[in-house]
Symmetry: C2
Subunit: 369 residues, 2 copies
């Protein structure tokens, strides 16, 4: 038992105080408790705090008594995060304090303005979440294999950064370091812009006749999936990163204006070239997105297998692919059909493509390549 605890808890000794027992704070508590670290919990809502305690994420703050936490994790809503961090730095003068809000530069600027002790502060951003919120939805494994960005300030001491890194590593996350401003610029592009574009598109579907929507295929479904996101959360995220998001949206507006001009006069000289350029630039940008497991972008080869839409079919297919010994890079079920025949799209490394098709054909599967 003792050996397990020593091995399991990595670099954090604890105790750790988690302020804010929503989805993320409670998940951090659960994850640390699972590694044998002492965790204390506090939340402005006594109900939230009691639920988080009941499900085993830690003990109530009152039980901390005179002990000093090694680390305070501020998991409050973005718009009160700076307040709560400043208070924690003052209340626990020996503790490292981190926050986990998804926009970083504004909080750092506010803390600096207040003269907070930034040597003990690290802004961080665990890029994990769920469709549900609140402590009941929390899971200790929420951060497993997900990115967790650390944004140390110039003033941050090396020991504070080490403690923040130990937390993320202990919870199984993949750690990277960004400056706060650099982080906000990056998430404006890879997270906030996709949300805006998806919402702008989905909003156009509000008045469409159902007949027209019956033609929806995987393209529309993919582009609008994140349009189902929570408005309350996104108001805070977009509001907190407004300047960075605006800069990118102004570029989008320029491209959109040019496209509208071209389509208003589609037979003018150069119109075809303009349209081809829009799509080609999209090709170029899309090809830069890294592949699975953070590796370089890779051109996977796709094939499609027809299956009956019954519980056992896809399992049988994947069992046989396992037997053949080919690793799947991606898998999609096709939704656009109106009959009970399913299409399973599989992507594999290019050098496995022909081998897999041949083997599946031999086993009697209908493969569309």
């Amino acid at each position: 038992m003792s050996a397990f605890r020593t091995q399991g808890r990595g670099h954090l000794n604890g105790p750790v105080l988690v302020v804010g027992t929503g989805l993320l704070g409670t998940s951090i508590g659960l994850g640390l408790r699972g590694r044998g670290v002492a965790v204390y919990l506090s939340d402005p809502s006594p109900t939230n705090q009691a639920v988080a305690v009941d499900i085993g994420a830690g003990l109530p703050l009152a039980r901390l008594e005179g002990e000093q936490p090694e680390l305070v994790v501020v998991a409050a809503p973005p718009d009160v995060t700076a307040d709560v961090v400043a208070k924690a730095l003052a209340d626990y003068p020996d503790a490292v304090v981190i926050d986990i809000a998804s926009v970083k530069a504004g909080i750092l600027a506010e803390l600096r303005d207040r003269g907070a002790d930034l040597g003990r502060y690290v802004g961080t951003h665990p890029m994990a979440g769920r469709e549900k919120s609140g402590p009941v939805a929390a899971r200790g494994e929420l951060f497993t294999s997900m990115p967790w960005v650390l944004c140390p300030a110039e003033e941050t001491l090396a020991g504070s950064l080490r403690t923040a890194r130990a937390l993320a590593t202990d919870l199984g996350a993949v750690v990277s370091e960004f400056g706060a401003d650099e982080h906000d610029e990056a998430v404006a592009l890879v997270s906030h812009l996709p949300q805006v574009m998806s919402s702008l598109l989905a909003s156009r579907l509000q008045g469409t006749p159902p007949h027209a929507l019956s033609l929806a295929g995987n393209g529309l479904r993919d582009v609008t999936r994140i349009a189902a996101s929570d408005p309350t959360l996104w108001v805070q995220i977009l509001g907190g990163n407004a300047a960075k998001v605006v800069g990118i949206l102004q570029g989008v507006r320029e491209d959109l204006n040019r496209l509208i001009g071209t389509l208003e006069n589609p037979t003018a000289p150069g119109a075809r070239l303009d349209l081809a350029q829009l799509i080609s630039e999209g090709n170029a940008g899309q090809s830069r997105i890294p592949g699975k497991h953070g590796g370089p972008p890779q051109a996977y080869s796709w094939l499609t297998v027809l299956v009956d839409d019954t519980p056992g079919q896809i399992a049988r297919l994947l069992t046989e692919i396992g037997e053949i010994g080919v690793n799947l890079e991606d898998l999609r079920l096709d939704h656009s059909s109106g009959q009970n025949v399913g299409m399973v799209e599989l992507s594999v490394l290019p050098n496995k493509h022909d081998l897999l098709i041949e083997a599946l054909n031999d086993r009697g599967w209908r493969v569309l390549q």
Copy 2:
């Protein structure tokens, strides 16, 4: 053999002449040949035509000799489709002639201007395709379970429509009827707008540092997937449906201008409400997209299972789900990780959700709910 042929070929008697042996034309030929229908092929490129003949999609046009085709399928590029349809109507005065271009009103208007015999013409749009093009990529099952829209004109005779419907049905497609204008309006929204939004977004990624792109998650990957589409094809599609696409993009531009105004002054009164409205309107539009198999939109319940990233793992998971007897509505592999632990997201009917979680937990899977 004779019984099979009678049963297999549905209502089409043939012969069928396919003009244009690219991906779609050759796939139609292969599908019909598989049902025992006589098919003849013609293409301006002798090479393309020879390849299509060699892979068994039909016989060369010269072999048709004096016989009259029952049906001519024009599978030419969109910008020459009206020409080729007019010529086919004149050359084969007893045949029904259809085309399969993805924009319909312009072709119909051009044929009407020329005084073509519209009683024998049906505009159609099979909504199927592949990432590859050309006759070598053709598959007889390409249309299985995919939508195929028929757009009869006022002048179209009932018998012509019946023939077009027989073709789509014989090839396994799901048939629906739209007016040409109504079709173009629908695809502008469900197909052309998603392409434009995805390309506009992906184009912004061209100059990003790789460091920033390392934070890309499933949201960005989903929204940009179709940005990898073929520029040559999309120049013709967007150019051919320019007026309809512009109308929708003007609405997008209004919303984008409002959003930029809000984000330029994010602390102004009403700014939070404006942002919440954008996301809420996206929620409302997204929720109207029909579910799998054309059914009504359905709120599926999602759960996430952690698996090792090895060939046999996902197969074993799905085998066990098959044993448990729960049907999957959707399945996604999570790509955002940087370690070799995979997340499999599964969606099931809400009344199967708790049952499946319990059964998977019992079998030792790590389920995140």
